[in-house]
């Protein structure tokens, strides 16, 4: 909390640039609202810091209210900044989100996590706080005042591409996770029946895991190019040395180890006594597998899917380097043109996707762990 105050005052909250190339000029809080205004904001902030030092339940709730207030006012603050500082007559002029704002957002996020455990907030609380924040951003965006923000500008100039990239990214990740789930689960079943296969299979999967992602894409390039030139139906499918095919194969390759190992652990982790009593009751092998072993393995299995999905969401960004498309494209374009905001445009949705996947699968797993039924 205290740190965020320092950031608020000490770092530029936003910047204004005449165009994309020229580095922007930082604008500090006091420059925006004057000394009096800055004090007006800083004093309640200081009060909140004070409340947080010796937390009681009531004080923590007050701090939570303040944190939510910050989250809601950030987009509007930026909107006000854009109105005041960015010259709307110039089509290329743009405002950037400054280091101060990022740090404030990051630190309030941390506060939220801390408050969540202190006040033992339920999932519903968190969801409604996030929803409030999203609504604040959405209304600020639809007002049009945020248009001069560089991030929004970058988005506006490629909104079709953006949506396509998000969908493509999701499709790539979804396909990789689905394929590796099928293969990994089958492998895990095979490993349960054959002790001898275990060491070599896990060995090979671990080796794949240790190959750096770029190297793996490179390794796949030559054989796939050769295959697609050799077999016409493959190239008709769009299989080439670059593009989605090597990306998908690499993603599946990386996903196989966590998927197989966790599926194996999940299935083996079912207590032997439970299986023994199932047999003793006269259940057949199919019954035991589908009614006992699989449902009991499900939470761990979902955990495997969660880990794999998050990993694949991140790795799919790298796949843009070999022309696989997706959100990674923006990141690498942004890096090439040193356009920070373009990078953020690619990275932010990746982050959001990962967080959503994490929350969704965790919730599902804990639902089943508490004895929920499929």
């Amino acid at each position: 909390m205290g740190l965020s105050l320092l950031a608020l005052l000490g770092l530029p909250l936003a910047s204004s640039q005449p165009n994309r190339i020229v580095p922007g000029e930082g604008v500090f809080l006091w420059e925006m609202v004057g000394w009096v205004g800055a004090l007006g904001i800083a004093l309640p902030w200081l009060a909140a810091v004070g409340l947080a030092v010796r937390p009681t339940r009531g004080r923590s709730w007050a701090v939570l209210g303040f944190v939510v207030l910050i989250l809601i006012s950030v987009p509007w603050g930026l909107a006000a900044f854009c109105l005041a500082y960015v010259d709307l007559e110039q089509p290329y002029a743009r405002g950037g989100i400054g280091a101060g704002t990022w740090v404030v957002l990051f630190l309030t996020g941390l506060c939220l996590v801390e408050l969540r455990s202190r006040l033992s907030l339920s999932r519903r609380h968190i969801v409604s706080i996030l929803a409030l924040t999203l609504i604040a951003w959405a209304t600020a965006l639809s007002s049009g005042w945020l248009e001069p923000l560089a991030l929004v500008r970058e988005y506006a100039s490629r909104s079709d591409q953006f949506l396509a990239a998000v969908l493509y990214h999701l499709a790539l990740v979804g396909a990789a996770v689905a394929i590796s789930l099928v293969i990994g689960f089958s492998l895990a079943l095979a490993l349960r029946h054959s002790e001898r296969l275990r060491t070599p299979v896990f060995g090979v999967l671990s080796v794949i895991q240790t190959i750096p992602s770029l190297a793996l894409f490179g390794l796949l390039l030559a054989p796939l190019a050769w295959l697609s030139s050799r077999y016409e139906w493959l190239s008709d499918l769009g299989v080439q040395g670059i593009g989605w095919a090597p990306a998908l194969i690499a993603l599946v390759g990386y996903s196989l180890l966590p998927m197989t190992r966790n599926a194996y652990v999940a299935l083996e982790g079912v207590p032997a006594v439970v299986i023994e009593s199932a047999r003793g009751m006269g259940m057949g092998p199919g019954h035991i597998f589908f009614q006992v072993r699989l449902p009991l393995a499900l939470p761990v299995l979902l955990e495997a899917i969660r880990i794999t999905t998050i990993q694949a969401i991140g790795l799919a960004a790298v796949a843009a380097l070999i022309g696989a498309g997706g959100l990674g494209t923006f990141i690498f374009q942004g890096l090439g043109q040193s356009a920070m905001d373009l990078i953020v445009l690619g990275a932010l949705p990746i982050l959001v996707m990962a967080l959503i996947a994490d929350a969704a699968f965790s919730a599902l797993a804990s639902h089943f762990r508490q004895g929920g039924r499929p």
């Binding site: 439970v274 023994e276 009593s277 047999r279 009751m281 006269g282």
Partner: protein, 315 residues
């Protein structure tokens, strides 16, 4: 009726059960007892074919168990193990209904049976039917385990240390309850334990095992009065044997009813269906040599003196 004829089970070169012959009559409560690793569970699990025997014959109602389909065989034999054997993802009611469901009973019949069994084992249906096993105490879980084993009303019941993980008080309660059930249901029971006190308390017949063989079999008092060797003697608890034997005899079999009834206020009383062991302990505690025997409603029904207790009278 269960018959094992010269049954042997080999794991590799090791013989876990060796030339084992035993007949358990209909309605008999037979307890296998011995130190851990002596082959008790293996013997039990051969009866419902969780383990296939290597040599010899096993018959149930004079039919070779190999002539049955293993799953069909297991569905007509109740099987109860330590409480962790409950399916953790199923409610109590669903756990109890496992075998009836496998036997494709219709729904109302299963529901009625579950209700009946829960009542039989002292589990309030409204309170417990929809609970998950993790929400049960050890004793409650074990009751559910026994109810589940009884669900399809099997003639035969196999129980492998079912009370092994319980605290002593719950354990004694469940033992009493099992005895009460057995006096009503008259199942053929093979019960495994490493606890000789439990065996003495429950068994019509005790089978003492060591290293896969039968060392001695007989009624609890047979064993106590004539242990076959030093091993059985040590299982029986050496110097505690006298007390254990006293623990098998009811006060009602030794008390005198011909004397005039003393004052009911006498604090030194013992219940007629307590054991001589309890009576002796009470005499030591009250430092007296005569106890007033009372019935369930605390009305004096007779007297027990130290002489009565020591003199074997009829038995």
């Amino acid at each position: 009726m269960i018959e094992l004829r010269n049954v042997t089970k080999r794991f590799g070169d090791e013989r876990a059960v060796n030339d084992f012959s035993l007949t358990v009559e209909d309605g008999e409560f037979c307890v296998l007892v011995g130190t851990s690793g002596c082959g008790k569970s293996t013997t039990l699990r051969m009866i419902n074919r969780l383990i296939e025997h290597s040599d010899g014959q096993i018959l149930i109602d004079r039919q070779q168990i190999r002539s049955f389909n293993p799953q069909a065989l297991r569905r007509r034999i109740g099987y109860a193990i330590q409480s962790t054997g409950l399916f953790p993802h199923w409610s109590v009611a669903r756990n109890i209904g496992t075998v009836p469901r496998l036997l494709k009973w219709d729904k109302p019949r299963i529901e009625a049976r579950v209700r009946e069994l829960m009542e039989l084992l002292g589990l309030d249906h409204d309170n417990f039917a929809e609970r998950m096993p993790s929400q049960l105490s050890g004793g409650q879980a074990q009751r559910v385990g026994v109810a589940r084993a009884l669900a399809a009303d099997p003639d035969t019941l196999l129980m492998d240390e079912p009370f092994g993980a319980l605290d002593p008080i719950t354990r004694v309660n469940l033992q009493e309850e099992l005895l009460r059930l057995q006096s009503r249901l008259k199942k053929t029971i093979v019960f495994v334990t490493h606890d000789m006190d439990e065996a003495l308390k429950l068994a019509d017949r005790i089978v003492v095992m060591d290293a896969g063989r039968i060392v001695q079999q007989g009624t609890p008092s047979d064993l106590l009065s004539a242990p076959a060797n030093a091993f059985v003697e040590s299982l029986l608890g050496g110097a505690d044997r006298g007390l254990k034997q006293a623990g098998l005899i009811r006060v009602s079999s030794r008390m005198r009813t011909d004397l005039p009834a003393p004052q009911a206020v006498d604090p030194a009383t013992v219940a007629a269906d307590d054991t001589l062991r309890v009576a002796l302990s009470l005499m030591l505690w009250h430092r007296c040599d005569t106890l007033t025997v009372v019935d369930r409603s605390n009305t004096p029904v007779g007297q027990l003196s130290l002489r009565d207790l020591l003199h074997s009278g009829s038995s």
